[in-house]
């Protein structure tokens, strides 16, 4: 009865309770049933055509991918149900979450196959859109990781991105130089981060309140300046946009090339930040100290680490990341600023950070997933599945709440996250 599987993962001992094991299995079986329902709504001979070259690009072309929808869905449904049954019966132990991810992935794939059956869908174009939609989410999530790992909650990512988007557009337009615009965007966001730091580290006010101050303030200021200047004088709201930069050789690889190596500067910044932050946080002395401050500031202080300086630095870096994420809106994609244009991307970033368990790699994966959900949502209307786009747009938030509730494994929040440090 009480047979618990013990999983040792990075020296953390995690016990998978029988309830969780069965719940996971039942979720997998239900997803299998869902795939079966997709299968029931297709007919033999229907073919889903996935186009593997994004529109308007000639480098890295690949042939279209033709999938017989009927048989593929049946096979996937049976496979998923079997995986679910094995999970209920025996459990996959340490591989449980991996199997679950695979099952979820198969479900998404089946859904796309069903939606595309008898039609054609530009899959790589959709993935490319997903990555671009994921950029501000992922950079926002990195912003959250940096500050929260040092014990400062940052719900002001949204506000920082909004301000950076506005300043980027304004300065970019005035100087007619996107690089100066990007720099100004980063500085404006770091300035807000500094205010967040002073309020929450120096004055020790509740970090949620401090974040709310920043959010209300930047919503107010960016809309104020936008209404007063940017919308009135169009020359102030017409910044140059960073062009697509193909990387030699790599850009010609089919599928991967168009997705990662023939794209926007911001995608490259995102990929480099991912590696740098992941390595810096988990493999350097600097990162160890930063995390120590977030987990147990008193112990860190006793060992001679300057808790306040570390936290200020983390918050400023957090502002830097949010600034790049914000600049993406005006300098990386749209080319003009509109009031409240971040539309909650900062909060999805926060969600991605939680979903990604406060790690850069996890946040990256979660951000890609959320971006993917976003791009599926826009494609849904085109494919005419009858599912309202708003429900797809809700998915990231709902998934985050499920993760937070510990249904599919609880995240590890830094222990001192949100607690001001009092030096004795």
């Amino acid at each position: 009865m009480a047979t618990s599987t013990i999983v040792i993962h990075r020296k953390k001992v995690e016990v998978i309770s029988p309830t969780r094991q069965r719940a996971t299995g039942i979720i997998e079986i239900l997803l299998g049933v869902l795939i079966f329902l997709f299968f029931r709504r297709t007919e033999p001979g229907m073919v889903a055509r996935f186009v593997m070259t994004p529109g308007g690009l000639d480098r890295g072309a690949a042939p279209d991918w033709l999938i017989p929808a009927y048989s593929t869905l049946l096979v996937l449904a049976i496979l998923t149900v079997i995986l679910g049954l094995v999970q209920v019966w025996r459990g996959f132990g340490r591989w449980m979450n991996l199997v679950l991810s695979v099952v979820v992935g198969l479900t998404v794939f089946s859904f796309l196959t069903w939606a595309t059956a008898g039609k054609s869908l530009n899959l790589v174009g959709m993935l490319s859109a997903a990555i671009l939609l994921g950029v501000p989410i992922i950079l926002g999530a990195f912003s959250g990781v940096l500050s929260e790992r040092a014990g400062v909650v940052n719900i002001a990512i949204e506000g920082m991105m909004l301000m950076a988007a506005m300043v980027g557009a304004l300065v970019g337009s005035v100087t007619k130089n996107m690089w100066v615009g990007l720099l100004a965007a980063m500085l404006s966001s770091m300035l807000l981060a500094l205010i967040h730091g002073v309020l929450s580290i120096h004055y020790k006010i509740n970090q949620i309140i401090s974040g709310t101050v920043i959010n209300i303030f930047s919503a107010g200021l960016s809309s104020y300046l936008s209404a007063k200047f940017l919308q009135t004088y169009q020359q102030l709201n017409n910044p140059p946009i960073f062009p697509r930069i193909p990387i030699p050789l790599l850009a010609d690889i089919p599928v991967i090339g168009p997705l990662f190596f023939n794209t926007n500067l911001f995608v490259y910044i995102m990929l480099i930040s991912l590696i740098v932050i992941q390595v810096a946080l988990f493999s350097t002395r600097w990162g160890l100290r930063l995390r120590a401050v977030g987990e147990h500031p008193k112990a860190a202080d006793t060992l001679g680490i300057n808790v306040f300086a570390t936290r200020y630095m983390a918050v400023l870096l957090s502002g830097l990341m949010a600034g790049i994420g914000g600049a993406f809106f005006t300098l990386g994609s749209v080319g003009r600023f509109d009031e409240m244009m971040t539309a909650g991307k900062g909060f999805i970033g926060l969600a991605a950070m939680i979903f990604g368990n406060w790690t850069p790699l996890g946040a990256f994966g979660a951000g890609l997933l959320f971006g993917f959900a976003d791009s599926v949502a826009t494609k849904l209307t085109i494919l005419g599945t009858g599912i309202p786009t708003q429900f797809m747009a809700m998915a990231p938030y709902i998934v985050t709440m499920i993760v937070l509730a510990g249904v599919v494994g609880r995240g590890q929040m830094p222990a001192a996250d949100g607690t001001p440090y009092e030096k004795e």
């Binding site: 309020l199 919503a219 709440m401 937070l404 001192a416």
Partner: protein, 428 residues
Amino acid sequence: MSENKPKQDAGKVFLEEVTGQSEEAQRIKGWRKTGRTLVVPLLAIFTGLVFGAIFIVVTSEDVYAAFRVSFGSGMATVWKTIIQSYQALFTGALGDPARIISALQSGNPLEIRRAVNPILESLVNATPYIFAGLAVALGFRSGLFNIGVEGQLFIGAAAATAVGIFVKGLPQIIHAPLAFLAGALGGALWGFIPGWLKAKTGAHEVINTIMMNWIAFRLTEWLLSGPLTRPGSGGLPISPIIEKSAEIPQFFPPPIRFHLGFFIALAFAYAVHWLLFKTTWGFDLRTVGANPNAAKYAGMNITKNIVLAMTLSGALAGMAGANQILAVNRSMALGLSPGYGFDSIALALLGNSTPMGVVLASLLFGALRNGATRMELLYIPNDIISIIQALILAFVAAPAIIRTIYRIRVPKEAEEAVFTGSWGGGNK
């Protein structure tokens, strides 16, 4: 109720330990304390307005043009801009005193109504703030940070709209309260979910309410373009106009929008005061908020209190939305709220999380929002109010800034923290 008696006494002891004072001592110090507690909020408001003036001047093209002429004319224009802006804010919020006096002398009722309309309109603006502020304050008192008031407000508005549209043939005396109740229930549901999740799984209410906000926005977006859409709106996300019988009555013919909802809000402010400070339930809520461990050892049911607090808080937020639909807008659109939910965090803090304080702060914020419409005529976007509100929030939350600016001595006893919860601390 007799079995609750010893519990209450035990709790009182704990509360004394928490605040470090006996109730007797608190009462004696009452007046001096009131004076002291008012200093920081008043200075915060004043400083916020000063910073607002600086923003207006710095972004005024007239000022730069005048400085190009000469320094003297520049300074004169600076002064003139500030006076003009705040005069517009004042007359926009409270009416033109000269006009009110002459209207009163003429005795013409129509003219009187027109002259005092700005004040009434400020009260109309204050009403959703009162509901939303009470929602946040109730949460703070119970040790919970309900940052999801905005979402609860939207769900409440949607529920009230649905009842206002689809229920037909009821008399107003039943239909309007029913729609209002639906709004409260909608908000309550949206508060219950994060409350329940916090109590059962320890998931932090701040993250969950943020997520619930965005779910609510998307849900209302869908409702307004799907089930609740106005026929013939051409895809615009807007609901049909509610039935006449669902309206909360306005007292005067249009354009004066002053309505019964304001008094309902005041009644709920009193109700929240009564609940928090005169009932055992309220005592439990406050004790759980002030010191969960003490509450636990006193035998209070933490789970029940967390869920109850979040549900009630959500219900109040839902009422804010229902009020806007039933009394003011009469139909629902996405631009329902200019951020009532987030501003209400500022005013709950400004009002020290007491219902009376929330009402006063709401009157101020309502007046500011209303006055800002007059400032727009001077080409000052009304977003200036958000800037001022953010600054007021920062100053109220960090009184030390105000003390530094005005060189006020720190009071002898340690300051009563308005809200001391932490992100990680609340978790199991």
